[in-house]
Symmetry: C2
Subunit: 165 residues, 2 copies
DNA sequence: CTTGGAAAGTCAACAAGGCTGACATAAAAT
DNA sequence: ATTTTATGTCAGCCTTGTTGACTTTCCAAG
C-alpha cells in the first residue's frame, strides 16, 4: 500500500468507521424507505411481497412468471402465493402466451394500476423530498454507490430496467 | 411553479423516471448488501434479526434491552426470542443493572465479538469495494441522500450513533 | 410502608413470506 | 416418442414480525 499525507487523506472515506456509518445509514434508510407503502399495504391486507410483484409487473407489462422470478430472486412457490391472491382480487391479469402457450404474461388491471400508483406515489414522495434536500450532485453519488454495491451478476436486472420501458 | 430552461434542467433529477430508478436501486442494492452476512448466518442457524442485535450490542456495549428495542423498532417479544437464543449460545451476556436492577445490560462475549467481526468484515468488504469504485464525492452524496430519506423523528437513533463511541 | 407504574421476561397464538420437496399438466424442443 | 421447460399446486417447515395476557422485580411517590 502507498502511504504519505496525500493518499491517507484521500482514503479517509474508506476507514472502518466510515464504512460502519454507511452500513447503519443503509439499515435506517431502508427501514423508513419501505414504511410508507407498508402502511398502505397493511390496510389492504397485502405485504411487501405483493408490492414488489405489482411494481415490476407495472414496469414490464406482459412479463412472464419466470422473468419475474429471476428479478425478485424468490422461489416460484413464494411468488405464486402472492400472485394468486393478486389475480383472485382482480389486480393482476394472467394471459396465456400466444407463441409459447406454456408462458403466462402478467398485466395489471385498472384496479392494479390504481394501487400501484398509490404505492409509488407514497414512495416517490419520500424519495423526492430526500433528493430535493440533498441536491443533484448528491443524488448522482447516491446512485453510483448503490449500483457499485450490487452483485455484478445480478446487476443486469437493474441495468435492464434502468433505461426505462 | 417556476419554469424556463434553467429550472427545468436543474430539476431533471426529480422526474418520476429518476425517482423510479432510485427506488429500484435501493431495492437491488439492499438485497445484495444483506446477502453476505445472510450466508454466514445461515451456516450458524441464525437470521438477520440476530445480526442486527449483535451489531448494535457491539456498537453500544452495555445498552439496555429497552434502548435496543427503540433502535431496532421491533416488539420486545420479537427481540426477546432472538436475545434468548444468543444468550443461551453464549454469544451475548446479560448483566443486571447496578443502579436499576430491573434493567439488563447487554454485552457480547468473546464468541459474540468473533461472530460480529466475521459478519461485519463481510459487509464492510462489499461496502469498501463500492466506496472505492464510486469515489469520495459519490460517498458523500450517498450518505446525504440516505440521511435525508430517514424519518426525521427516527433519525435520532442514527445521529446518536453517528459520531462513534 | 404501601402502592403505582416502569422494565423486563414469558407464554400462547397468529400471519407474512421466505424455503424445500414432490407431483401434475401442458407445450415446446429434440 | 421422449425429454425438457414453464407453470401451478399441495404440504410442511423456519424466521421474524405481530397482539394480548400475565408475572416478577424494583424504583419512586404518596
Amino acid at each position: 500500500m502507498a502511504d504519505g499525507p496525500q493518499s491517507s487523506e484521500s482514503l479517509l472515506f474508506l476507514t472502518d468507521e466510515q464504512l460502519r456509518k454507511g452500513i447503519e445509514a443503509m439499515f435506517f434508510a431502508y427501514r423508513d424507505f419501505t414504511a410508507d407503502p407498508d402502511r398502505i399495504l397493511l390496510t389492504k391486507g397485502y405485504g411487501r411481497a405483493h408490492h414488489r410483484a405489482i411494481h415490476f409487473i407495472h414496469r414490464a407489462p406482459g412479463t412472464t412468471v419466470n422473468n419475474l422470478l429471476s428479478i425478485l430472486g424468490v422461489t416460484k412457490q413464494s411468488l405464486n402465493r402472492v400472485l394468486r391472491s393478486l389475480i383472485e382480487d382482480g389486480l393482476v391479469e394472467s394471459r396465456v402466451g400466444r407463441r409459447d402457450k406454456r408462458e403466462r404474461h402478467l398485466f395489471l388491471t385498472e384496479a392494479g394500476e390504481t394501487l400501484e400508483r398509490e404505492l409509488s406515489d407514497a414512495q416517490r414522495a419520500r424519495m423526492r423530498t430526500a433528493y430535493r434536500e440533498a441536491g443533484p450532485e448528491a443524488v448522482t453519488g447516491f446512485r453510483t454507490v448503490l449500483e457499485a454495491m450490487m452483485d455484478p451478476e445480478l446487476r443486469r436486472h437493474y441495468m435492464a430496467m434502468k433505461e426505462g420501458g
